[in-house]
């Protein structure tokens, strides 16, 4: 039916998730230790905000062009040649969808920070960290699991987006 894309090494997304979870942990640390100031310029220059913005842009990159996204490229260049070939390949679409969920959560954190909502940014970053960490360590993909739920609600799938 639909054209199934070439499979990818499933360890690649987990490698990326490990780096992402470390970055998000640093975001939470910065957000908790550096007090956000009231003027909007200071909220934007807050290091936690800037780093979460970088993470969000990386998520966006992975959604728009998974093949060129930095962590995937790093994995293929440096890590994969040192490992045995993967036992199986996987569909690249679920991890890509999950990156979109990560992007959404990060953007929510950024918007809350801009709106001056206290704790908004660290809580959103912590939520994204939980998802990335579970993916890296346990291979659980919360974003992928959401897919069927959203589909049952009619929010994604054939009817909404192709």
């Amino acid at each position: 039916m639909s054209d199934v894309p070439v499979g990818i090494d499933p360890r690649g997304p987990r490698f990326g998730a490990a780096i992402t979870s470390v970055l998000l942990l640093v975001v939470v640390l910065l957000a908790l230790t550096v007090l956000p100031l009231t003027p909007i310029a200071a909220r934007i220059l807050d290091p936690a905000f800037l780093l979460l913005l970088v993470v969000a842009l990386l998520f966006l990159w992975a959604v728009l062009s998974p093949r060129t996204a930095p962590w995937g490229a790093l994995y293929r260049r440096l890590v994969q040649p040192r490992l045995a070939p993967p036992a199986e390949r996987e569909d690249p679409r679920p991890p890509r969808f999950a990156q979109g969920v990560g992007l959404l959560v990060s953007v929510i954190g950024l918007v809350l920070q801009l709106a001056g909502v206290p704790w908004g940014l660290p809580i959103a970053a912590a939520a994204a960290f939980v998802a990335a960490f579970l993916n890296a360590v346990f291979g659980l993909c919360l974003g992928c699991q959401l897919y069927l739920l959203l589909q049952r609600l009619g929010l994604v799938g054939r009817h909404a987006a192709a």
Binding site: L25, V28, L32, E88, P94, F129, F138, L148, Q151, R152
Partner: protein
């Protein structure tokens, strides 16, 4: 917030996430036993002589291929056990009817085709094998 408190909060976050992940992984190998009324009249299309494994997947299911491979091997090695695969990508009414919230989900059906237990997530191979033994060993008397 002082740095040491922030570090403690982070440590708590990591430990809680790790604990939660570990519990989730464990739960995936625990079958939910018993038939559900909603599955009556539903036919996976494939029938094993003694039992049937049904795997539900979607297009966007990262962990389905590994489960499919494991169930294939298990069905091949066990006499009278067949494997059916149902893609829920285009069948959300079926997912709703069978109360499937995530993929992969695995059903174990007995010889009569009745749903006897279900695994939500990626079960360990020996957990599915034990469930198969149970279903084959004690057929239902309806």
């Amino acid at each position: 917030m002082p740095l040491w408190i922030a570090v403690l909060v982070l440590a708590a976050l990591v430990v809680a996430t790790a604990g939660g992940g570990w519990a989730l992984r464990r739960r995936e190998s625990r079958p939910r036993q018993g038939a559900s009324a909603s599955s009556e009249g539903w036919d996976p299309g494939v029938h094993g002589e003694r039992a049937t494994l049904v795997q539900f997947s979607t297009e966007l299911c990262a962990r389905c291929p590994q489960v499919r491979r494991m169930l294939h091997a298990l069905a091949d090695e066990t006499d009278g056990v067949a494997l059916a695969e149902v893609d829920l990508t285009h069948r959300r009414e079926l997912a709703a009817r069978l109360h499937i919230l995530q993929t992969p989900t695995v059903f174990v059906l007995d010889a009569s085709g009745a749903v006897r237990s279900r695994f939500a997530g990626v079960p360990r191979r020996n957990a599915v094998a034990a469930e198969l033994d149970r279903v084959i060993g004690e057929p239902t008397h309806v």
